[in-house]
Symmetry: C2
Subunit: 258 residues, 2 copies
Amino acid sequence: MNSRPIGIFDSGLGGLTVLKVLAKNFPNESFVYLGDIARLPYGNKSPETIRKYGDQILRFLKDQDVKAMVIACNSASTVYLGEKFFEGIPLLNVIEPGARAALEKGTSTIAVLGTSATIRSHAYEQTIKTLSSKTTVVEIACPLFVPLVEEGVVHNEITDLVIKRYLEKVKADKIGTVILGCTHYPVLADDIRKFLGNVNLVESGEVLTRELKSLNIPSGSGTRQIRVCITDVTDHFERLAKELMAPERLGPLEKIVL
Amino acid sequence: MNSRPIGIFDSGLGGLTVLKVLAKNFPNESFVYLGDIARLPYGNKSPETIRKYGDQILRFLKDQDVKAMVIACNSASTVYLGEKFFEGIPLLNVIEPGARAALEKGTSTIAVLGTSATIRSHAYEQTIKTLSSKTTVVEIACPLFVPLVEEGVVHNEITDLVIKRYLEKVKADKIGTVILGCTHYPVLADDIRKFLGNVNLVESGEVLTRELKSLNIPSGSGTRQIRVCITDVTDHFERLAKELMAPERLGPLEKIVL
């Protein structure tokens, strides 16, 4: 038994889609989430800047006495690729588990959707190619998806046009597996499925569940706590947090200064 | 004669639409522009956070020995409303001159378009109401406009739908004057005009030109320099900067650390 919490780091609130899945799949675990709202988005920042901010946040999570850390943010994950520990604490990123989960679907081609930073890093492509040199990888930056989700512009005509703009090639080429390489994208999963038809969508929450289980960390006690900390506060984010976590209920967000 | 430069502060590169107009209207003046790309957007940050970042940037501009400072960013302007100097240097914001320019159009109603932070501050509404209590002000947050411009998704079907979403009421109510209360919005001016028809659009660049002239600062010499500094570098921003400044030519962006 080890009732220390699991830490989750994201650039904003999108990672709550991951926290929601982990909270459901690990009902006895406590969680501390840190969303770096004051400095989001990470998707168009340089690797050096992401590293600087990321280290500050991982140190904050370490100070919360976490037993493991999950980088839910894909843009940040690209910078910490291959690093299994941060200052002695087990560290997970979303890229490597996501690549493995996509390969298990067995299709000849995999499409990766992500922010500009994630796609520019080619982190998914390189990881997939290392594991399976025969698989074709198509990478597509979808920078408008995050603002659409943040503004609640989903399940409508605008969303459909933006999805068509980015995914026309995926549909035309009948690509069978698509990695949703950004924490916001699961909110658009139904809209994407509607456009693409029959397709395997790989989402970070389920992928990280399996990965955390494989770490064999001693599990928590029955009375758990879920803390969501952010680096700035506005009504907008209070509302967005509730929407992203629904139907799971969420306590007040904690403002922290890094 | 005073060849010291004029400082311009924006959260990102949108303020280049302002720099472009000022550079054209003041052909003998030098300029130092600072875009806080590493921490954009300001549009969804709290006033406290904006103030903290803003003070750092105004201090940077002061260190460049500017003779006047212009806050091109509307979200930042709302925090510095009514402040005429920063540490002894004349300081201009876009809100008060924009409100006055809109009132001069003489329509009974004025619509203000802006980011969530600008609209939430009610800075334009309060300034207009102080100057003319009889004018009706309609405030509309248009948070998707900035990402559309940043991604070059303009003059197409997606832009048209988003404009319709935000401006349907402005059109239905035949509002005669619209303040483009964000530095990115001039890029969408033609699309907005296409949707609204005959309308007065108030843009920050022209408004600030008049305001700078009224300060009567000694003018610069004939050989001028235009420096564009940013707090982070990526290819994306190099490209966007060129697009926003076109047809004006732009030297390489300078990376600075605050």
